[in-house]
């Protein structure tokens, strides 16, 4: 009987130690869920004019943003924030495996040459993707991007209403998280680092 009590105490003690050790480690970091809906390949034209297949992004952790360069408010603000984040990662030598990609849904005005000049101002490492109307329709439906032409602006160009999320893709080009454009840069950095 005495042995049974001692064994029970020993087992309970061991359990307590295990529980305390787990608590001591803090909350376990949950891996970001894999989006199983936004799956597929795409092909576009990059800012150098070359064809660009989604496979080229394999091995990189990607931040992808959809917009049009004639948008004066959200788009440049978001690209500037991406540049800020990327420069932070350069300082900590984590940028080598990170790629920022801007995808336009206004290929008529956002030609490769235009994208090249536009994006280089934010950061020369950024990739810009444009293409035919079909290319744009394919990639936007793949990532459920909503955009709608809303008529002409003062310069005769198209105005768009659009959803604005920053997409985080892992090294296998799987979508792991969507951030609202105003999301905290530290939150994006933390999630991005979990994929590096």
């Amino acid at each position: 009987m005495k042995r049974l009590i001692l064994m029970t105490i020993a087992v309970l003690g061991a359990l307590a130690v295990m529980v305390l050790w787990q608590i001591g480690r803090g909350p376990a970091v949950e891996p970001l869920p894999i989006n199983t809906r936004m799956v597929g390949e795409f092909e576009m034209t990059d800012q150098t004019g070359a064809r660009f297949h989604s496979d080229a992004l394999r091995g990189q952790v990607v931040l992808m943003f959809f917009g049009f360069t004639h948008c004066p408010d959200i788009c440049p603000a978001t690209m500037a924030r991406m540049a800020q984040l990327y420069k932070d990662l350069e300082r900590t030598r984590e940028a080598a495996d990170v790629q920022v990609v801007f995808v336009t849904f206004d290929p008529e005005r956002d030609t490769p040459e235009y994208l090249q000049q536009y994006l280089a101002w934010f950061h020369p490492d950024f990739i810009g993707l444009t293409g035919s109307t079909e290319d744009v329709e394919r990639i936007t439906s793949l990532y459920s991007v909503v955009y709608m032409p809303m008529g002409e602006d003062r310069q005769g160009g198209t105005e768009f209403a659009h959803s604005d999320f920053v997409y985080l893709l892992d090294r296998e080009t799987r979508v792991r998280k969507l951030f609202p454009v105003e999301a905290d840069l530290e939150e994006i950095k933390r999630d991005l680092r979990s994929l590096l």
Binding site: T69, H70, C71, P72, D73, I74, P76, A77, M79, A80, Y114, Q117, Y118, L119, A120, W121, F122, V146, Y147, M148, M150, D153, R154, Q155, E159, A161, H162, S163, D164, E182
Partner: protein
């Protein structure tokens, strides 16, 4: 002595009424706080401007037009969320600034739109922007070009 004091006071009152009050109720009625313009890549011909517009007068004022020496055209815009979660920018022909009140134009919302930029804008430089109203004189002020 008392007589002189009263005379001085009366004189001051008359002077204020003659010079000060009309100036206060017209020219200084509208004032621009923290005006700035978003720097954009040199290849861009469009940008946005932001400010807080104070109406210190006693009548409502309606902002109707925007102009700047660096832009071929200007408009007041608003950003409205659509039912599908997208946001849409559109021309706001009239923006009322109620008497004694202020309206903030800020990123993601109402903004000044500058089209046909004549030259690239440098971060840190001051750009003159003029605001025209349905009633009264236009108001101009320096807007600082800031990093996007």
């Amino acid at each position: 002595m008392i007589c002189v004091r009263y005379f001085e006071l009366a004189l001051k009152t008359v002077l204020l009424a003659a010079l000060g009050l009309p100036w206060v109720s017209h020219a200084a009625a509208m004032d621009i706080e923290d005006g700035w313009i978003r720097a954009v890549p040199p290849v861009s011909s469009t940008t946005a401007g932001y400010l807080i517009l104070h109406n210190r007068g006693d009548t409502d004022r309606t902002l109707t037009a925007v102009s700047s020496p660096v832009a071929g055209a200007g408009e007041v815009h608003d950003m409205s969320p659509q039912e599908d979660g997208t946001r849409h920018m559109h021309h706001l022909p009239e923006l009322v600034v109620p008497a004694g009140d202020a309206v903030a134009l800020k990123p993601g919302g109402k903004h000044l739109m500058l089209y046909q930029l004549q030259r690239p804008l440098e971060i840190g430089e001051q750009i003159e922007v003029c605001l025209a109203f349905a009633e009264g004189e236009p108001v101009c002020g320096p807007f600082e070009v800031r990093a996007p």
